[in-house]
Structures are given as structure tokens and as C-alpha cells.
């Protein structure tokens, strides 16, 4: 029989020992605590880039649709999803004369970052010559979140540092990562935590490699919930996002946010006016977003072009501690795409439409949008249930 050694009671810690042990192992010299925000090698550049994108009267053109999603856009105007067609469409967008007056940044998909226009000029170079900062989508899409209520999480952290470094070399200066929160599905505490944590890790890595991270936790429009419920969820999500951003030593002056506006759910019986959306959204921002953040660039998430512009305008009727602007995809491109229809003879007209949309949103950023001269197409809602991006 093996001899047993009894865990002596003398071995259990005495109160005095415990106090001494915690003091020596947990106590830190005062100087360590002042290291709250690291001085990374890109800090100054990040702050400068963020301020440039968040400049008055300007916002972001989101044109980073993955190939699959771009395919849906092209299909809606009867075009095949080929690289040539994607190239033609993106050439149309970035070559709009004078676009840089209203657009400060353009988010690209990886293919586009390395593409040339149909005339053989690098798309990145065209953007820079237009005074538009190139950005790059770096996430790898949503997958089901194990242990949740049918919710998703966003992948893309593996090898992210070297990818960001390559994108920086190619000319990108900001990045974007989109995760989603679903109100009908809870959201569960796990889903919120996972979304916030993933964004924080991505943001830290992006900054470390010279890219200003756009932080985008999209609270999906889907659902029958009212505006108060959206407000409640948004408060929780943003609290957690900023907690983890802080824990990951992210430089707040060098990030941009891309939130969803606070509205009722798409299937709700409630409808909110632009003034109500503005009131709720501004209250959320004031309670949760540190003033150090230079720019808040709203996503449109299925609102019509006009709705998205009106809501933005309502939010800019008085001064705010952060630049409040837009980062729209469908709400900038929809009418332009339909006007083009894939035909070379329509390019000029389509470009004029895009410029007009950008100009309208520019006015909205300045709080001066009046809504004169809007077409029927631009008022069409673009909400798609269970939209997969």
C-alpha cells in the first residue's frame, strides 16, 4: 500500500502570509500604470489619417462587397459576375470627377486593392489622386457561433498582422471589420462578448500595422422590436466594445466607428421620424462614445438612400464632440448602379448620380440637407430580411 502524505494543516496559508504574498506578486511600481496607451510606431500617422477621413463635409464610400455580394449587385442589373465586370463597375465609381470633394475614404475588397481600372491605372492611385484615402476590408466573414442562440461571429484574426502589413504596403491606410448582433436572437451575452472581443483584437492588430481600424458592430435591422429595445442593446454593445478596446491598448484617437443608427426593427409596427432617430442615436453616442474618437461614420443597413441622408442630417443640427458622418454602400450606390445598367453609354450619367448622392450626404454631414430634387429611385427602401452581406 503506497504511503500517503497528508496535506498538513500547517501547509494551509496563514492570514499574514497571504497578505504578504498578494502584495509582493500583485503590487506594481507606480510607473507601470502610466503605460495606458502605448506609443506605437504609427501613432501619429493613425491620428492624422483618422482626422483626414473625418473631415467636415465628407464621408466614406463603402465599396468593399465581396465577390459573391458584388455578384448579387451585378445580377440585379443583368450582368454576369466576372472580374471584368467588377473591374468596370469599380472603375466607374472611383473615376467620378470631383468625388473627393464629398468622399474622404473608400473601403475596398482585397481584389480591388490590387486591381487596375479598365484604363490600366492602379485603383489605389486613382483614389489617392482624387484625395480619397483607400481602405481595405480585412475580416473573413461570419460563421455560426457555437453555444449561442443561432448567432454569428466574425473570423479573420489568423495571420491578420501580416495581411495588414501587406495592405499598408499596397497603399491602404484604414481597415474595416464587420461583425453583427441580432436582436431577435437575444442577443446572448456570449454573442455580444465575442463581437466586442473580436473587434478589439482586430483593432489592436490593425493599428500595430499602420491601418486605422473602423470598428463596426452592426446591430441588424431585422426584427419586430421597437426603438427602445434597440437603444438598450446598443448601450450594452458599445459599453463592451470600448471596454475591450481599452484592454487591448487601442489608441482611441486613431480609430473610426461604423455603428448602426438607433431605429425600430424593420418589421416593427413603430415608425420613427428622422428627428426621433437622431434623438435616440445622439443619446447613445453621448452615453457611450469617448470624445477622443475622431469620427463616427454610420452604416445605412438597408435604409433607402434618402432615409439615410435625412437621418444623418437630423443628427448634425447642432455641434457634436465627434465628426458624425456616413459610410454608405447601398445608400450611395443603388441609383448609380441602376442608372449604369452595365452600359458604357450610361457611365457618365451614373457617375453624375453618384456625385449627387455624395453631395447630398455631404450637406447632411454639415446639417444643411434640404431634400430638394430627390428621385423616386433614391427613396426606395433596400431592406432585405436576413440579409447576408
Amino acid at each position: 500500500m503506497a504511503s500517503a502524505t497528508i496535506l498538513k494543516s500547517a501547509f494551509l496559508p496563514k492570514r499574514s502570509e497571504w497578505a504578504a504574498a498578494t502584495r509582493s506578486s500583485v503590487g506594481r511600481p507606480a510607473t507601470a500604470m502610466s503605460l495606458t496607451v502605448r506609443a506605437g510606431s504609427y501613432s501619429d500617422e493613425l491620428v492624422k489619417t483618422a482626422k483626414t477621413v473625418a473631415s467636415p463635409g465628407r464621408g466614406i464610400l463603402a465599396m468593399d462587397e465581396s465577390n459573391a455580394t458584388c455578384g448579387k449587385r451585378l445580377a440585379s442589373i443583368g450582368l454576369e459576375n466576372t472580374e471584368a465586370n467588377r473591374q468596370a463597375y469599380r472603375t466607374l465609381l472611383v473615376s467620378v470627377p470631383g468625388l473627393g470633394q464629398y468622399i474622404s475614404g473608400a473601403i475596398l475588397f482585397e481584389e480591388t486593392l490590387y486591381q487596375s481600372t479598365t484604363e490600366g491605372k492602379k485603383i489605389v492611385d486613382v483614389l489617392v489622386s482624387q484625395n480619397i484615402v483607400p481602405g481595405i476590408k480585412v475580416d473573413k466573414g461570419l460563421v455560426p457561433l457555437a453555444g449561442s442562440n443561432d448567432e454569428s461571429w466574425c473570423q479573420g484574426l489568423d495571420g491578420l498582422a501580416s495581411r495588414c502589413a501587406s495592405y499598408y504596403q499596397q497603399g491602404a491606410r484604414f481597415a474595416k471589420w464587420r461583425t453583427v448582433i441580432s436582436i431577435p436572437n437575444g442577443p446572448s451575452a456570449l454573442a455580444v462578448k465575442e463581437a466586442a472581443w473580436g473587434l478589439a483584437r482586430y483593432a489592436a492588430i490593425a493599428q500595430d500595422n499602420g491601418l486605422v481600424p473602423i470598428v463596426e458592430p452592426e446591430i441588424l435591422l431585422d426584427g419586430e422590436h421597437g426603438i427602445d429595445r434597440t437603444f438598450e442593446v446598443a448601450l450594452k454593445v458599445w459599453a463592451e466594445v470600448f471596454f475591450y478596446l481599452a484592454e487591448n491598448n487601442v489608441l482611441f484617437e486613431g480609430i473610426l466607428l461604423k455603428p448602426s443608427m438607433v431605429t425600430p426593427g424593420a418589421e416593427s409596427k413603430e415608425k420613427a421620424t428622422p428627428e426621433q432617430v437622431a434623438e435616440y442615436t445622439l443619446k447613445l453616442l453621448h452615453r457611450r462614445i469617448p470624445p477622443a474618437v475622431p469620427g463616427i461614420m454610420f452604416l445605412s443597413g438597408g435604409q433607402s438612400e434618402v432615409e439615410a441622408t435625412q437621418n444623418l442630417n437630423a443628427m448634425n443640427q447642432s455641434t457634436n464632440p465627434w465628426h458624425i458622418s456616413f459610410s454608405y454602400a447601398r445608400a450611395l450606390q443603388n441609383t448609380c448602379l441602376k442608372t449604369w445598367g452595365g452600359r458604357p453609354e450610361n457611365v457618365k450619367a451614373a457617375q453624375e448620380v453618384l456625385l449627387a448622392r455624395a453631395a447630398a450626404n455631404s450637406l447632411a454631414q454639415l446639417g444643411k440637407y434640404t431634400g430638394e430634387g430627390e428621385s423616386a429611385e433614391s427613396k426606395k427602401g433596400m431592406y432585405v430580411k436576413n440579409y447576408s452581406y
Binding site: S25, V26, G147
Partner: protein, 358 residues
């Protein structure tokens, strides 16, 4: 609190319990191609696929060795390799009553804003990879997180990032039929005393189990692979009994009884040291609701590797060496090891490498 109860739940519980069978433990043979290269070069053997295959065949086909093992962790290449006679290693192990396991992490990356601390990557498409490995015969997985002790380390960020990473990996494994081994290794490097190691280990394990619960991981279908609680590599050594007391106490305070087995890493201890420490733990009386066993890499293979030296004529001698270590550790899981394993060359050699990159 709800946890995973999907289609693999019963199988996960059964396999995890099997790995903790008294008298058995895990051989960690999952050295990446780079790391195994270091082992091979230490005995002047070229790092080519055939040599890697030959070494693993030496181990897995050692007569009488498999009875002391409940699992073997493999690197991806090995999962698909065969003996010289053409028999898949997975079959050799399964027929010998040993569960094949697979390393699924993709190494560590630095955490920005810290003093060289790291987090582990490998989550992208992990579900798909696990499903593939399950099809190939794997039944458990392993993911190594690394923390270190320093004046300001481990930082809260490092603890949270690694705990969260482990929990994500764990639930994805369970969804795909693999028992996840949760490995938060706190490196032995440093001059800290055993009490500091105990305090850090307790803090890290508490964070790990909080994260595992938040992610709804089925604890009965997991294993823990922690470091033993010891003084730092530059501090004075203590006897096995002291290591045992500090280690078991830390585990009692942090590891839920639902966890079926704790399989220690050796982390640079010599073969003999690791065995003696494990033995002392199993001799302690007191509350130990999980079985305490081994998941040793270097501490099972070191003298075997030296005895082999890459030569076919040494295989029998090397296998004898391997059998000695397997048997010794098997006895250590029962607290019956008498310290009398014939010490072959290298058994008491420390395997610690400062700042070890795994």
C-alpha cells in the same frame, strides 16, 4: 448554466474519461515540422519526412508501450502517415487502445502593447478542420496558450486573450466530436518562487474556467493540461512533495470537479523530475476529484531519442528506453513509482531551454 449537449456529448464524456484511466496517460508527439527538426538535429538526423515517420513508428510500435498510454497527440502530417509496412498510425494506435489526438492551433502571435506576451491563433475555419480530423480518426485535440511570469506579467490582457481563445477553440472542437485539451502553459522561465507561480496559476486557471463556462463548454468532455506549480527555472529547487502540495492546492481552488482528468505538461523538467513530481501528487491524500496524469513530450522521448540517434540498429535499445519511461509514468499516476526506473543516458538531464519556442 447551459452547456453543449449536441450530438457528440456522450462520446466526448466517454473519451475524456477514458484518457484519465488510472495507469495511463498521453504521449505528446505533436511537434511541428520545425520543432521536430530541432530534436532530430540534436542527434544529427536530417529533418525529412521519412525520418519524422521513422521516429514516430519507433515510438508507436514499441512493444508493450501502448498499454501505458490512453492518448497520443499528433501533428497534422503524422495523422496521415503509415508504418513502413503500410499500416496507418491511426490504426496502430486505435487497435492498441490509444486515442489519436491532433494539435489544431497555428502558433502564437504577439499581443500589441505588451512586453512580448502572446496569444494563440487558429480559430479561422477551425470547425471545418476539426470535422476533417475526426473523419481521419482523431478523437481529441490540443491547443497551447502561453503565458509568462514577469514583473508585470502575465497582464490582464494576456490572461483574457488566452482564456477566451482557449474557450472558443474548446467549444468548436466539441461541436465536431473532438475532446479539447485546454492548455494554458505558464512558462517556468524566471527567478520567481513557488508561491508566485501558485498565485499566477490560480489566477490564470480561474480565468480559463470562467471563459469555458461563458462559452458553454461541456466540462465533462474536456481535459486540462496545466503546468505543475514549481519555482522558476532560475530559483532554488524544491522537493517533489512541495511541488505536489502547491499544485494540488491550486487545482482544488480552480478546477471544477466536472473535469475528468488533468494531464500535466512537463515544460522542461527532466524525465525523472517530471515522473517524481507526478508520483508525489498521486500520493497526497485530500480532495482530488479529477485523475492526475501526464501529457509529456520531451519528458517521455528524451532518452529514447538519444538512444536511437537515427540508427536502425538502435531501434530496439531506444524502444526499451521508451518503455521504461512509459511504465514509470504509469506508476506515477497510481502513486506507486519507487524511483527505480533504470536511468538511461539523459533521464535526469534537465530539458529546460530558456525562452523556449515550441
Amino acid at each position: 448554466m447551459s452547456c453543449y449537449r449536441g450530438k457528440y456529448a456522450d462520446e466526448l464524456i466517454k473519451n475524456a474519461a477514458y484518457i484519465g484511466t488510472p495507469g495511463k496517460g498521453i504521449l505528446a508527439a505533436d511537434e511541428s515540422t520545425g520543432t521536430i527538426g530541432k530534436r532530430l538535429s540534436s542527434i544529427n538526423v536530417e529533418n525529412v519526412e521519412e525520418n519524422r515517420r521513422a521516429l514516430r513508428e519507433l515510438l508507436f510500435c514499441a512493444p508493450g508501450a501502448l498499454q501505458y498510454l490512453s492518448g497520443v497527440i499528433l501533428f497534422e502530417e503524422t495523422l496521415y502517415q503509415k508504418t513502413a509496412d503500410g499500416k496507418p498510425f491511426v490504426d496502430v494506435l486505435t487497435e492498441g487502445g490509444v486515442l489519436p489526438g491532433i494539435k489544431v492551433d497555428k502558433g502564437t502571435v504577439e499581443l500589441a502593447g505588451t512586453n512580448g506576451e502572446t496569444t494563440t491563433q487558429g480559430h479561422d475555419d477551425l470547425g471545418k478542420r476539426c470535422a476533417k480530423y475526426y473523419e481521419a480518426g482523431a478523437r481529441f485535440a490540443k491547443w497551447r496558450a502561453v503565458l509568462n511570469i514577469g514583473p508585470n506579467e502575465p497582464s490582464q490582457l494576456s490572461i483574457d486573450a488566452n482564456a477566451n481563445g482557449l474557450a472558443r477553440y474548446a467549444i468548436i472542437c466539441q461541436e465536431n466530436g473532438l475532446v479539447p485539451i485546454v492548455e494554458p502553459e505558464i512558462l517556468v522561465d524566471g527567478s520567481h518562487d513557488i508561491n508566485r507561480c501558485a498565485e499566477v496559476t490560480e489566477r490564470v486557471l480561474a480565468a480559463c474556467y470562467k471563459a469555458l463556462n461563458d462559452h458553454h463548454v461541456l466540462l465533462e468532455g474536456t481535459l486540462l493540461k496545466p503546468n505543475m506549480v514549481t519555482p522558476g527555472s532560475d530559483a532554488a529547487k524544491v522537493p517533489p512533495k512541495v511541488v505536489a502540495e502547491h499544485t494540488v492546492r491550486a487545482l482544488q481552488r480552480t478546477v471544477p470537479a466536472a473535469v475528468p482528468a488533468i494531464v500535466f505538461l512537463s515544460g522542461g523538467q527532466s524525465e525523472e523530475e517530471a515522473t517524481l513530481n507526478l508520483n508525489a501528487m498521486n500520493q497526497l491524500s485530500g480532495k482530488k476529484p479529477w485523475s492526475l496524469s501526464f501529457s509529456f513530450g520531451r519528458a517521455l522521448q528524451q532518452s529514447t531519442l538519444k538512444a536511437w540517434a537515427g540508427k536502425v540498429e538502435n531501434v530496439e535499445k531506444a524502444r526499451a528506453s521508451f518503455l521504461v519511461r512509459c511504465k514509470a509514468n504509469s506508476e506515477a499516476t497510481l502513486g506507486t513509482y519507487k524511483g527505480d526506473a533504470s536511468l538511461s543516458e539523459g533521464a535526469s538531464e534537465s530539458l529546460h531551454v530558456k525562452g523556449y519556442k515550441y
